[in-house]
């Protein structure tokens, strides 16, 4: 499927009836120290589609994304109130195992960040973390191949799987960063401006890849690039100053924005 199939893709979803929700936030408030970054955010992400988060810098879209796998907490001195559910499970419940959450919710970062180890080991890294016992060599080979095939990287790198991953081009690195999430079969993929470090050609390639992954994965993508949101997402949410302004089908949001703030933003009056 290519991005031009947006409408048919979405129509199919519609005729299927109400698809179930992969991620739901309920009155989510978030503070960095004394600074409140999110205000009562209620947000439902439907399973199996691409949802984009747009808004000006500092509007809280990355913060919201980072609440969904709790990676926000690594910097310390933060506070979360409200609820975030992934596939119906409250991931902020006290008994929750973070390792478990992060096998369900994979994340791709702004700057490609493959680990400074071989391509093969990068793919097997998360798999190793979430698997008890040893995996046989042939199984490992199969995992590496299928993950790399899924991100269309196999033919490029099949002869140099033992080379260090940080030597790849940025586009290949970012594809690898997506590929390494797949062996643990996450339900949700979070992407924080995954193309902002890439050139236009690489951006197109990664966008197409993301589009191809929809259906199998629920994808939530933060982007600065409105054209990207428009061509590569099914639904789109606009945030401003830590609040969710509106969340609708992408075409609707861009053609007939529901609020004046959204209209001003997508016309480029600020942002």
């Amino acid at each position: 499927m290519t991005p031009s199939n947006t409408e048919t893709g979405l129509d199919e979803m519609r005729t299927d009836g109400d698809p179930h929700i992969a991620v739901r936030t309920d009155k989510l408030n978030f503070w960095y120290g004394d600074f409140q970054a999110l205000f009562d955010v209620d947000f439902d992400v439907k399973a199996g589609i691409v949802t984009s988060l747009i808004g000006p810098s500092g509007c809280g879209k990355s913060t919201l994304l980072r609440c969904v796998n709790r990676i926000n907490e690594r910097i310390g001195n933060v506070r979360t109130e409200g609820k975030v559910e992934v596939l119906g499970h409250d991931i902020y419940a006290p008994e929750v195992d973070l390792t478990q959450v992060r096998s369900q919710v994979g994340m791709v970062f702004q700057r490609p960040n493959p680990l400074p180890i071989s391509i093969r080991k990068n793919i097997l890294f998360a798999h190793g973390l979430h698997t008890q016992g040893k995996t046989s060599k042939s199984d490992e080979e199969a995992i590496v191949e299928s993950a790399l095939r899924e991100v269309l990287l196999w033919d490029d790198v099949k002869d140099r799987l033992d080379r260090v991953a940080t030597d790849l081009s940025l586009e290949q690195q970012q594809k690898l960063c997506i590929a390494r999430l797949l062996p643990v079969k996450p339900a949700v993929l979070l992407m924080d401006e995954p193309c902002s470090a890439l050139d236009p050609k690489a951006t197109t390639a990664v966008e197409e890849l993301i589009w191809n992954l929809r259906g199998d994965y629920t994808i939530l993508i933060v982007t600065h690039n409105m054209a990207q949101a428009r061509r590569a997402s099914d639904e789109c949410a606009f945030m401003l100053l830590g609040k969710m302004v509106e969340h609708r089908r992408t075409e609707d949001l861009f053609l007939t924005p529901g609020s004046q703030q959204t209209a001003d933003y997508i016309e480029g009056r600020y942002g």
């Binding site: 690594r74 959450v101 680990l115 180890i117 973390l129």
Partner: protein
């Protein structure tokens, strides 16, 4: 526009700040090359002093093959083997002590400690590095000596174990500082990436940070080894200073450095004994030079990648 252009005559003007600038440049240059000059100077000096011995009394097989260091006997022999083994064994024990301590401390400071704890620890480690070696030697001679005699029920507490522990504690702070720098240099995005995939703290340290900082950690250890070979006073005081090939950690030994320090003052300048001590100096110089060079090359290796 014309206001900004200078007349040719103005270009030649040299005001006070021009001279200051030149002077500072020269001073910096002299400062910069002085290290090289000193190193070459020292090397030339010890080589010159040791050269006479190397050509006359020196026998390669005796120097490296014999344990008899008898410079004052009627028929003097200069076998340095026991001294070399003594230094190596003390350094070996020192590394057994220093590596776990320093790597543990570096990992804790770099990956676990935050805020005030982190800063306090770093200052303390640097303070530890500044304790004079004679103080360490004193601790070895008094406290450690009695401690070892009592705990292990051995007749002498001044031995390989004592000197090794003292030297290990001495080398640990500088190794900690270098290892911590190496860990700190690992970009945070690697930690973030691993954490987002569900890795625990320990998995991140073990599988991501240690391999990424490997070169820096190896060079920290090598510099510790270099320090071990070069340390004199503490080893002289804690090792027992007895010429001996050790068969257990409770044997006394004598180090290369300690031999020079203890004997040089009593030899006649230019005598064979004097020359032999300088030959030991050349050997030490070459060993520490190679170790430091190796450490440097290892660090460079990581940058090239």
């Amino acid at each position: 526009m014309s206001e900004n252009t200078l007349a040719p005559s103005q270009l030649d003007q040299r005001d006070a700040s021009w001279y200051v600038d030149k002077l500072v440049q020269i001073l910096m240059f002299v400062g910069g090359i002085s290290a090289i000059i000193f190193i070459i100077g020292i090397f030339v000096f010890i080589t010159k002093e040791g050269l006479g011995f190397l050509f006359e009394g020196f026998s390669f097989t005796e120097f490296f093959g014999s344990i008899n260091w008898r410079p004052t006997s009627a028929n003097p022999t200069y076998g340095a083997l026991a001294l070399i083994v003594g230094t190596a064994s003390v350094t070996g024990v020192a590394m057994l002590v220093a590596i776990p301590f320093s790597l543990g401390a570096a990992v804790y400071i770099s990956e676990f400690a935050t805020g005030r704890t982190k800063e306090t620890l770093k200052v303390l480690v640097e303070l530890l590095a500044a304790i004079p070696s004679v103080v360490w030697g004193f601790i070895g001679m008094s406290i450690m000596n009695e401690f070892i005699i009592e705990v292990f029920d051995v007749p002498i507490g001044l031995n390989v174990l004592n000197a090794g522990i003292i030297l290990g504690l001495m080398a640990a702070p500088i190794m900690t500082t270098i290892a911590e720098d190496a860990l700190k240099a690992v970009p945070d995005r690697y930690r973030e990436a691993a954490e987002a995939m569900g890795a625990t703290r320990w998995q991140i340290i073990r599988q991501v940070i240690m391999p990424a900082a490997k070169n820096g950690l190896v060079s920290a250890v090598l510099l510790g080894v270099g320090r071990g070979f070069g340390e004199t006073m503490a080893v002289l005081m804690a090792s027992g200073h007895a010429i001996n090939i050790p068969t257990s950690p409770f044997d006394s030994v004598r180090a290369l450095t300690a031999t020079i320090a203890a004997e040089l003052g009593e030899t006649a300048q230019g005598s064979e004994h004097y020359g032999a001590l300088f030959a030991l100096g050349i050997l030490l110089f070459i060993i520490t030079f190679i170790i430091n060079l190796a450490a440097d090359l290892v660090v460079r290796g990581i940058r090239k990648k």
